[in-house]
Every structure is written in C-alpha cells, then in structure tokens.
C-alpha cells in the first residue's frame, strides 16, 4: 500500500539572554552544576517571578519573523506536572493567549517554494537537566538546575510536511531565521535548539489524518530525519498488516537507530493549565510592535532571492552566501566598495569557506575584512599579481589579517610585466628544451603549454601569463 507521510515539528530554542526568564541567574552554558540558581528558579515557596523584558522581546521578534498574528493581550499559564527536573512542579508557559498564532514560513526545495504553517509561537521556562548515572543498578538520578528557568521559545508547526527533505529544509530555514534575528545561538550540541516530530500515515488521496506518534529525544537534525524514516516504515508495516496505530510518544534511541514506546503512565497527561497568578499579563501596543518589526533584518530566503536578482548570482552561490548572516553581510559590504559581485562571491564561497573549513576557523571572528578583499580584487584586476598568486595572498590574509599590498611587498610577489625580463627567461627555457621546440614545430600544440608552464615555474608564478604566451608564440615562430 502507498501511504502519505504527514509530519509536524515542535521546536524549542533557548533565547540568547544573559539571564534567566524570571530571575537574574546566568544562562551561561557549561557552568559547575547548581551554581547558577536562586530561590526563584529553584521554586522556593513565596518567591515572585519577574519577566525578563529582553526574553519577551526576543520571543516577540521570532513570532513576527515567522509571520504570526500577535496577540495584543498575552499572558502566562501554569502547566502542572511532576517530574524531578521541574522544581516548582509546574512550568510557567503559555496556553490560552500564545504570543503568536497562525504564522507561516516559506521553505526552499531545490528552487521550489513551499509554505509551512505555524500553529503558534510561545514563551516558556526551561526545565533542569537530569543525569542518569552509568553504573548498573544505580537507584537514583541526579539533577542540575542551572538550566531551569532559562527562557525557551516553542514553535509549533502544522502537520504540513510530507517528506524528510521538507523537514530538513524546515529545520535549516527556521535555524537561519532564529540566527538572523539573533534571538538564539541555536547550538544543537548544547541543547539550545531541539526538535520533536509527530508523524502519521494516511492512504494516498485520503483527507483524514491518521493517528499521530510523537518522537522525542532527537539530538541532532540527522536524528530527526532518521527517526522519521524509521517511524514511517514502522507505521506502514503495521498498517499493511491491518493493524491500527496507537497514539503514543516514542523515544528515539540514536545508538540502535530505533524508537521505543514511552511508558503510558507518563503519556496520559492532565496539565490543568490556568493563568499564572504571579505574573501580570502583557499588552502589546502598536508602537512597541512596530519597533520590534523594524528590528528584524531581511530574512535569509528573501535575501537569497535578492542576491540572485540584484547581483546575478547563481541560486547555489546565493544560498551559500546567505547561509550565515556574517558572510552575507561581508559580501554586501564588499559589493558596496566595488561593483564586482561575481568575484566576491567566488572568493567567499570557494576560497574563504575552504580556509574556514581547513583551518577550523570561527566564521564570526575572521581576521580578513571586506575592505581588504576588495583591495585584493582590485590588485588582481590591475594585473599586479596573477590570480594564482592571489590565492596565496588570500590565504595569508585570512591567517594574518594583513593588507594584501603588505603581503605582496613582503613576499616579493608582484607580477613581472617587464618585457625584457620575461624574454630573457623565455630564451633560457627555449635553449634548454630543444626537443620540445621540435615537437611544437611538428604540430604538437600542447608543447606550448609546457613551455609556458616552465617560464611560470622559473619566475615562481610571477610572470604575467598573457605576456608569456604572446612572447613565446612570437619566439617559436607563429
């Protein structure tokens, strides 16, 4: 039987504030356990949470960037459940008046667009971190509450995705938007960006959705894809046998590439949401909202499109450039200095990214500046150095942050365009390669390329290649 896979994603992103949502404890990752806590985030009786304005504004910014309708009256609700990582036995979240509703995000699939609807975007607090001891037979777990109370953004999509490619594109695009708007650092390895998938299958051509299964414990984008592929196969095998799919939550086991059902006791939840009496509602007026709207930069997909149209770049180059905001910014700065978009795009997408990869550099703290790259392009155009030498200079620029002229001077790399000098070298090469000259005269055309190569080698790549070619042709007699 052929089935359609229906996928929705829930995304959690820790917001990039320096303090927690309701208290002034640090959100810094990697600190000694239980050193970034206070009575508020430990849930001591009688404490009063006070909302971090920056966290609220980051959440609002994300909701606007995801094209949500903004609830002008928004408030917070208690979500009650017992789990040892939740100090208050309730989580302050949003349920009745989510910050943003009915949003959407465009994703790109090899040049085709698809719109994925966003059900809601809301703000809540993180739970602590549970550590399960490795020793066998241990009858305890350990808790670190440093993470408890860190502001967390939840983004819930509609089940609008049908393939893992769409899911991949959704995750990448969402990550880029959160990075572009600077609301989260999106470091998956530190848990600041996490996904949960819900998957159901239905026969092709049928509208009614099948029972959905939620998958948790997905630690990377790769795990999300693998878990969805696994789940689609598992469900279709069950359906083929005429069985029904239970509505359940499953945990992904990355090591074995399988998922297993969570205990049903933990699934049957009754959260008893009610308005959080310790916090006041938030009213969002026009002035505040338009200030937030104005703070949103051009988003990746729109920027990519503009790069293709305004600078005549290929779709591929434009997507690489807009992958990281800092690259796109640098590119635009270069183009502002000098109108050579294609050249800058090549330098950045090929040479710069290769250097970054080979030398494991942090893309956000590169030494080379747009002004310097523009200088290099100008120097190559003038013919001061050849494009081969330019690569060497560029690599040095990336490593040292020095200006190109300085490197050229220090290393004596200036291109030789002195006819007399080049001729002298050519004469030498011709004299020492009589057999090659014979071959050339007999019609072996690639013998010329060999001779050009020898001249370039002799001049350490500094001879003007165009002049070498012309002078050589003159000498061997065409």
């Amino acid at each position: 039987m052929e089935y359609e896979v229906v996928i929705g994603l829930e995304t959690h992103a820790e917001l990039a504030t320096i303090t927690k949502l309701f208290c002034g404890c640090s959100t810094q990752f990697g600190a000694e356990p239980n050193t970034q806590v206070c009575p508020v985030c430990l849930g001591m009786p009688g404490v009063l949470p006070v909302m971090n304005k920056k966290a609220f504004e980051y959440a609002l910014k994300a909701a606007v960037a995801l094209n949500c309708e903004i609830n002008r009256f928004t408030n917070f609700d208690r979500k009650s459940y017992y789990y040892p990582d939740l100090p208050k036995n309730y989580q302050i979240s949003q349920n009745y008046y989510n910050l943003g509703i009915n949003g959407c995000m465009n994703i790109d699939l090899n040049g085709n667009r698809k719109t994925i609807r966003i059900h809601n975007v809301h703000l809540e607090e993180e739970a602590g971190k549970l550590i399960h001891p490795e020793e066998t037979g241990a009858d305890y777990s350990l808790v670190d509450f440093n993470r408890a109370g860190v502001p967390l953004l939840e983004i819930v999509s509609y089940p609008d995705m049908r393939t893992v490619d769409e899911v991949d594109s959704y995750m990448q695009t969402l990550r880029k938007i959160l990075l572009y708007t600077e609301v989260s650092d999106c470091k998956m390895q530190e848990g600041s960006l996490r996904f949960e998938a819900s998957i159901s299958l239905r026969k092709k051509g049928i509208d009614k959705l099948g029972n959905r299964v939620e998958i948790k414990n997905l630690n990377s984008m790769k795990s999300v894809i693998k878990a969805i592929e696994y789940e689609a196969i598992r469900q279709s095998a069950l359906l083929d046998k005429g069985e029904t799919i239970d509505r359940e939550t499953r945990l992904w086991d990355e090591v074995n590439g399988k998922s297993a059902r969570m205990r049903s006791k933990e699934e049957s939840q009754d959260y008893r949401y009610f308005p959080e009496p310790d916090l006041l509602p938030v009213l969002i007026d026009e002035k505040w909202l338009s200030a937030i709207k104005n703070s949103i930069p051009e988003l990746p997909l729109a920027r990519k499109q503009r790069f293709v149209e305004a600078f005549k770049l290929s779709d591929y180059d434009a997507s690489i450039l807009t992958e990281e905001k800092v690259l796109a910014d640098s590119f635009e700065e270069c183009v502002k200095i000098m109108d050579r978009p294609k050249a800058f795009s090549n330098w950045i997408t090929n040479d710069l990214l290769r250097e970054v990869k080979d030398r494991k550099l942090d893309i956000n703290s590169l030494q080379i500046k747009p002004k310097q790259l523009a200088l290099l392009v100008e120097i190559v155009e003038k013919g001061t150095i050849s494009s081969t030498i330019a690569k060497e200079v560029f690599s040095e620029m990336v490593q040292t942050g020095k200006d190109p002229q300085k490197i050229i001077e220090e290393k004596g790399l200036t291109q030789i365009s002195d006819e007399g000098l080049i001729e002298a070298v050519i004469d030498k090469i011709i004299a020492s390669n009589p057999s090659v000259i014979e071959d050339y005269k007999k019609g072996k055309k690639n013998a010329l390329a060999f001779l050009v190569g020898q001249v370039m080698k002799e001049t350490k790549g500094k001879a003007n290649p165009k002049m070498v070619n012309e002078l050589l042709k003159g000498k061997v007699g065409i």
């Binding site: 504030t17 303090t19 002034g24 050193t35 304005k53 241990a138 305890y140 808790v143 509602p281």
Partner: protein, 95 residues
C-alpha cells in the same frame, strides 16, 4: 455537580496524595458541596462579561536582562532532601 470516587482518586493521583477510603468519602462530600456552591454563579447572566484572570488591572511588569548573584551551593542544598556532590539526588527516573 456530583463528585464520585473515581474522580477523587484521579485528583489525588494528580496531586500525589495518598487517601484512605474513609478520607475519600469525606472529600467526595466536601468537594461536591464546594462545586454546588460555585455553581450558583451559573445563574448569573455573563454573556457580555469577559473572562477575568487577574485581580489587578496592571500589566507589563518587567525586569532588565541584568545579572544578579546566584546563591552558594551550601544554601542551594539546604532544602534538598538528598544530594550527591553538587547535584540534587532523586529516585531513579526511568526513560
């Protein structure tokens, strides 16, 4: 509204409270009485009244994103029923 034994057991479980059969009987009556009393509100016409969740009319109370000192690990663990090193220790959580 009548509360039955099943409902009492469900609520007790949600609240992690153990009740004897005798206590369940007591709470069945008490909670039923409370709910019946509250149900008097249903007699009011609330058609044009917006739901109200807050007793004060204030809104938009925020703090800045400024660091404040956290407390010492000794103070952190003062109320911990069990600890191990810098961690809180809890009964095994099975995932």
């Amino acid at each position: 509204m009548k509360i039955d034994k099943k409902t009492i057991e469900y609520i007790a479980n949600l609240s992690r409270i153990k009740l004897s059969d005798q206590e369940k009987e007591v709470f069945i009556h008490q909670l039923s009485d409370i709910l019946s009393y509250i149900e008097k509100l249903n007699k009011l016409n609330t058609e044009d009244v917006k739901p109200m969740a807050y007793a004060v009319s204030e809104s938009n109370v925020f703090r800045g994103d400024t660091l404040e000192p956290s407390i010492s690990i000794e103070d952190v663990q003062l109320n911990a029923p069990a600890a191990m090193g810098v961690f809180f220790k809890v009964p095994k959580v099975i995932e």
